[in-house]
């Protein structure tokens, strides 16, 4: 256990910096951080080293020297198509998730009649938001696959799902399937924000002569905006990086995670190796940007929910 040998002094160095010599305060600060060494070591070994290795492989040219050719190749030609395809369905799935998840959260938060309703929605969301992976893919294969029961029901109503270009592995299909975990995830993200909307704000708006529309346009939505936008980014990252579900639905190598695993599978010449890692590197960059923005937005959104 890391902190068995700590000194019993527990003040945060506030007193120390004033009186004690500089060396002492530096030592104290070092000893305070030293308790995190096991955690940092763990992260370095099992998260940072793999991540850095991906970049080090990605930044190799064919002759083994440092260079950006693989990174460039990973965003050109078929690889670019894959990124565009993935961006398209991930943004679509995130948008659908934000809209429906937002409405569902609002409906659950404001419904007063069955008292258990809100609990059911939030508990179910907790389960469904984590329900990626194989079971989800299997469930949708049996509902909307070519022989799926839903496909048959729609057929009976005269809607041939597969007459157009619907496929579970194409944009429309992936959006449908990913909504299954995106909508609940959005519910979980926005419920606290919706709870943060005070009824006094609505009353104040009404007293000043504002309609429901005014309230939403001038008060409600601006306050929810950071949560909604943050939710969009979270759902986007979530959809973009999903592997297991997509893998079961399709062999479509236009989906970036599937493409990465295809390159990792290794039936390809050595020179193209770096392209797979470059795809992964671009993915990390993209996820980094979305999650950083999400983090900032969440800080901002918390301003209203803490009061």
């Amino acid at each position: 256990m890391a902190f068995t040998h700590t000194s019993p002094k527990k003040d945060e160095g506030v007193v120390a910096t004033a009186a004690a010599p500089l060396l002492f305060s530096v030592l104290r600060r070092v000893s305070a951080w030293s308790g995190l060494i096991p955690f940092f070591l763990f992260l370095i070994l099992f998260l940072f080293i793999p991540a850095i290795s991906v970049f080090s492989q990605a930044l190799h040219d064919a002759d083994g020297s440092f260079g950006f050719s693989a990174m460039r190749e990973a965003i050109s030609g078929q690889n670019l198509d894959a990124f565009i395809f993935s961006l398209k369905f991930s943004a679509g799935a995130a948008f659908v998730g934000v809209v429906f998840g937002g409405f569902l959260a609002y409906a659950a938060a404001t419904a007063t009649r069955p008292r258990w309703l809100r609990n059911i929605v939030s508990s179910f969301s907790g389960v469904a938001a984590n329900m990626g992976g194989l079971p989800l893919a299997f469930a949708f294969l049996s509902l909307l696959g070519r022989q799926g029961l839903g496909t048959k029901i729609l057929n009976a109503f005269g809607w041939d799902l597969y007459a157009g270009d619907f496929k579970l592995g194409e944009v429309s299909g992936l959006i449908t399937v990913y909504s299954y975990f995106n909508i609940p995830l959005m519910v979980l993200v926005t419920l606290p924000a919706i709870d943060g909307l005070k009824s006094s704000w609505r009353e104040a708006c009404a007293n000043l002569g504002g309609s429901a529309w005014t309230y939403w346009r001038r008060v409600g939505l601006p306050i929810l905006a950071p949560s909604l936008l943050g939710g969009f980014l979270l759902l986007f990252a979530n959809s973009f990086s999903a592997y297991a579900t997509a893998r079961q639905l399709t062999d479509n190598s236009k989906i970036v995670p599937l493409r990465i695993s295809f390159f990792l599978g290794g039936d390809i010449s050595i020179g193209e190796d770096a392209v797979g890692y470059s795809l992964a590197a671009w993915m990390i960059i993209l996820m980094g940007i979305s999650m950083a923005a999400y983090w900032l937005l969440r800080r901002r959104a918390e301003r209203w929910s803490n009061s």
Binding site: M1, A2, F3, T4, P8, K10, A32, W33, L36, P38, F39, F42, L43, L45, F46, L47, A51, I52, S53, V54, S56, Q57, A107, T110, A111, L117, V127, A128, A129, G133, L134, P135, L136, A139, F140, S142, L143, Q147, G148, L149, K152, I183, L191, P192, D195, A212, L234, A237, S241, Y243, A244, R247, S261, L264, M283, I284, M287, Y294, W295, R298
Partner: protein
């Protein structure tokens, strides 16, 4: 409020419609899968007229007798136990340390714990493939998955333990225990951990759910975990594959229901805590 009657009716109708539509959307895939899995009929023949015919559990009992079933399930369960223990051993001391000695690092550590979202499983496994030639002695073992699964579960588990620590007055408890002459080890095991029981259990369940569902890493590294077995089994026997998926779903759902019940039982605590509990499942 000035609202016409029709407007108000619309305001009530719309949420109801949203709720009904969601119920359909979320229930139907599961119901369809149940029919695929447990009705002993050709998929093509499934229709309204035979909705209640030939239901049986034969598909799932058949999958139990597959040679690799027990092997895969045992491996996944061992990985789950290993990951849960590793997680607790790593995160409890870290989180306690942050709360006691380094409160200003709280945001930083929390930021580190959501990094697995930035480096998703498929990118992580790409890194593992790179490192593999240099650490075969380690990565060839099935149990080498454990630390990586700890990483994947980190956003959930750390948050759960952190929330638990926020709900108790850690500093006072520890100072009381220390001033009564207890050692650090005794304080940890007899004061801190008992007070964190609910958080520990829910973080353990979250870990187990993550491990039993993890497919990306084990698929790319060709490990025979339960999800990999499930995917493979479906190739030879689709009905059995669907049945296993339902079983896995039921298991995970039970874990999450248990987490829900646990966090409810702490609802005597201040409102703020129970609210942040609500989304401990995610970032």
């Amino acid at each position: 409020m000035k609202q016409s009657r029709s407007q108000r009716a619309l305001g009530r109708l719309l949420p109801t419609l949203v709720l009904i539509a969601s119920a359909i959307f979320f229930a139907f895939p599961l119901l369809a899968m149940a029919r695929f899995a447990f009705q002993n009929l050709q998929v093509i023949d499934l229709g309204w007229n035979n909705l209640f015919e030939k239901w049986s559990f034969s598909s799932i009992t058949a999958s139990f007798s597959d040679d690799f079933f027990a092997e895969a399930l045992t491996l996944s369960l061992k990985l789950a136990v290993g990951t849960a223990l590793f997680t607790l051993g790593l995160l409890i001391p870290t989180a306690v340390w942050v709360h006691l000695r380094l409160p200003k690092a709280r945001v930083f550590v929390e930021f580190l714990t959501i990094l697995p979202y930035v480096i998703p499983a498929i990118a992580l496994v790409a890194g593992i493939v790179v490192v593999k030639p240099h650490a075969r002695w380690f990565l060839n073992s099935d149990y080498s998955l454990i630390p990586f699964y700890v990483v994947l579960a980190l956003p959930f588990t750390y948050r759960s333990i952190d929330t638990g620590l926020r709900a108790i007055d850690l500093k006072v408890l520890v100072e009381a225990s220390r001033s009564l002459g207890s050692t650090w080890i005794a304080t940890l095991f007899r004061v801190v951990i008992p007070n964190l029981r609910a958080a520990i259990i829910s973080s353990t369940f979250l870990t187990v759910a993550v491990v039993l569902g993890e497919y990306t890493i084990s698929d790319v590294l060709l490990k025979r975990t339960f999800p990999s077995f499930m995917a493979q089994y479906r190739q030879s026997d689709p009905r059995g594959g669907y049945a296993l998926a339902i079983l896995a779903l039921l298991g995970t759902t039970l874990l999450f229901v248990a987490i829900g019940v646990l966090s409810k039982s702490r609802s005597t605590r201040p409102q703020q805590v129970s609210r942040s509990q609500e989304n401990e499942i995610l970032v």
